[in-house]
C-alpha cells in the first residue's frame, strides 16, 4: 500500500541569535545552511497494517508523514501510496487517504461538528444518504451523540478529537495518516481513541501509520514500528526487537538475606545500585545463565527477578537525550 524508496528532504534554514543585537544582525546578514530533514529512508507497508512511527521532536517524523500525503515534495527518492505519487495530489489519491493532526483542527470552531461533516460530504461528493449512514456508524463506534450538534468550541478536547476523526474518516479512506491523534487527551479519552482505531482497522482493513508521544498508543496498536532518528531510519520491525536493540542488557534484581559489599559482584555484569540487601544488576543476555548460576552459588538469595527494561522508559530516554 505504501512504498518508500531512498526518500530524502533537505531544507535551507536561517540562524538567528536572540535579543535586539541578534535581530539586527539577522536583518543585515542572514546566515543560511542546508539541513537534511530526512535522509535515504526506505520501507514498505502492506495493506491493513498498523505501523507506529517513532522519533524525537525534529527527527523527521512529520516531514516524512507530509511527504507521504503529498504535502511536501521530496528532494529525492520515490514514494508510492495507494498506487499514486502523493505530491501530484490527484483527486483519486486524495479520496483514498486522510490526515489527522492532533494539534490542528479542521472543524469549524463556531459551529457544531455536523455542519463541518456536511461540508466534507459535499467536498468529497458523498451523497447525503450515504453520508448520514456513515456518520451514524462512526459516531456509534466513537460514542458520539448530541456532541455532533453542539458548537465545537463548547466540546471538550476528547470530544473534539473524536469529532475530528469522524470528519477525517467520512470518505472511508484506505490509508490513515495520524499525527499525534491523542495529544493532550486524558488517559480515558486516549484509551477510547485507541480502541476506536483498532476497531476501525479491523472492520475496514485500512492501513494506518501513526505517530505518538504516548508509548501506550504504540504498544497497544502497532505490532510494527519505524523509528526515525536524525532523519534516518534506525529501526523497522517489532517493538520488542527495538527494545533489545536499544538496551540489550537485562535487568536483574536481587534481594539478599544479608548485605554484601560492592566488590562481591565483580564479574557479575554491571552493578546499577546496591542498597543493603537490594541489588540491581545489568547483564548481557549471553552471560545471563552463567551470572544467575554464580549469584545463587555465592549468595543466599531471598528473591530474584529478571526483566527487560521498560520500552517507554527507553524511548523516553532516547527522546530526551536526542541521541542513541
Amino acid at each position: 500500500m505504501i512504498t518508500v524508496e531512498r526518500l530524502s528532504k533537505t531544507y535551507r534554514v536561517a540562524d538567528k541569535q536572540p535579543g535586539l543585537a541578534g535581530t539586527l544582525r539577522h536583518f543585515l546578514r542572514r546566515r543560511q545552511r542546508d539541513v537534511f530533514a530526512v535522509r535515504d529512508v526506505s520501507f514498505e507497508i502492506a495493506p491493513g497494517e498498523m505501523v507506529g512511527f517513532l522519533g524525537a521532536n525534529g527527527a523527521g517524523k512529520t516531514t516524512t508523514l507530509k511527504m507521504l500525503c503529498g504535502l511536501i515534495y521530496p528532494s529525492s527518492g520515490q514514494v508510492l501510496v495507494a498506487g499514486h505519487q502523493p505530491q501530484r495530489r490527484h483527486p483519486d489519491f486524495l479520496r483514498r487517504i486522510t490526515l489527522v493532526m492532533g494539534q490542528k483542527q479542521q472543524l469549524i470552531w463556531d459551529l457544531p461538528p455536523m455542519d463541518s461533516l456536511r461540508v466534507n460530504a459535499a467536498v468529497y461528493g458523498i451523497p447525503d444518504r450515504v453520508a448520514s449512514r456513515r456518520i451514524a456508524e462512526l459516531s456509534d463506534l466513537l460514542e458520539l451523540g448530541e456532541e455532533l450538534t453542539r458548537p465545537v468550541r463548547k466540546l471538550s478536547l476528547g470530544q473534539r478529537m473524536k469529532a475530528e476523526l469522524l470528519a477525517a474518516l467520512l470518505h472511508e479512506p484506505e490509508v490513515l495518516f495520524l499525527d499525534e491523534p491523542t495529544l493532550g487527551l486524558d488517559v480515558n479519552a486516549q484509551m477510547r481513541v485507541r480502541q476506536f482505531l483498532a476497531d476501525y482497522n479491523r472492520r475496514t482493513g485500512a492501513t494506518v501509520l501513526l505517530t505518538s508521544h504516548y508509548m501506550a498508543d504504540i504498544t497497544a496498536l502497532c505490532p510494527r514500528v519505524l523509528l526515525i532518528h536524525q532523519g534516518q531510519l534506525f529501526h523497522d520491525g517489532a517493538l520488542d526487537r527495538l527494545a533489545s536493540r536499544l538496551a540489550p542488557e537485562r535487568h536483574v534484581r536481587l534481594e539478599l538475606k544479608e548485605p554484601a559489599p560492592a566488590e562481591a559482584f565483580t564479574g557479575l555484569g554491571r552493578l546499577d545500585s546496591l542498597e543493603n540487601c537490594e541489588v540491581n544488576l545489568r547483564v548481557e543476555p549471553s552471560s545471563l545463565t552463567r551470572v544467575l548460576a554464580e549469584v545463587l552459588e555465592r549468595f543466599e538469595v531471598r528473591d530474584l527477578e529478571v526483566n527487560d527494561p521498560p520500552i517507554d522508559q527507553l524511548i523516553g530516554e532516547l527522546f530526551r537525550q536526542g541521541s542513541l
Partner: protein, 262 residues
Amino acid sequence: MGRYWRTLRRFWGTALATQLEYQLNVVVELLAVVLSLGGSLLLLSLFFGPGRELGGWNWNQALIVQGFYTVFDGMTTAWLRPNLGAIVTYVREGTLDFVLLKPIDSQFWVSLRTFAPAGLSEVVLGLGLAGWGAHQSGVVLTPPLLVAVLLMLMVAAVILYSLWFLIAATSIWFVKTWNATEVLRAVLASGRYPLEAYPASLRLLFTLVVPVAFLTTVPAEVLLGRASLPLLALGFVLAGGFFAAARGFWLFALRHYTSASS
C-alpha cells in the same frame, strides 16, 4: 460541476450559520454599512455646490461612481476580506494542509470558503445608489445597455478579485506581510471619485497599474452611454490577464509551499 455547486451552497450555509452565532455583530455590521454610506455621501457633497462639478462629473453622475464603489466595497467585505484574508491564517496554523488534501480545487476553497452577509447589504445599497444616480441623470435603461453594464461590472469584479488574490497569496511566503492587502484597499479607495477628478499622472496609475478606473468610472461611463470601445476592450484584456496571473501565481505559490514547509 454539480459537486462544486453543492459544496458552495454548504460553504455559505455554514458561513451564514456562523455569523448568526453572534447576533450583536450582525446588527453592528449593518449599522456600520449605513453610517459608512452616509459619511461617504456627506464627504462627496463637500465637493459639490451650486454650479460646481468634480472633474467634469455632476452630482448625479458622481453618485453612480459612488454607488459602484459601494458595490465593490461590499464585494470586498463579503467575500474578499473574509476569504483571502484567511489565507495567512491557513499558513500560520498549518491548516492549509487540510485544504490541500481535499479532492477539490484549492483556489476555489480559499476564495469562496465563507462570506460575510453584511457586505451583501452594501452591494444592494450600492446598486440602488447607482440606479438612483442614473435615473436622475436621465438614463433610460434598455436591455442592451443593462447587459453592457452588467458585463463591465463582471470585468470589474474579476479585476478586483485577481488583484486581491495576487497580493493575498504572497502571504504563503511572507506571513509577516499579511496586511499588504490593506495597502491595496487604501489605493482602491480612490475609486470613490471619478477618474477625471485626479491629476493626469494618477489617472495613468489608476488605469494601467492599479486599474481602479475599471472598477467604478468605466462602468459608470457605460451606464451613461459614453464609454469608448477601445477602453472596454482594454478592460476585458486586463480582466483576462489579471485572472490568468492570479491562477498561475497560486499554482506557483503552492509549489513553493509544498517544497518549503515543514
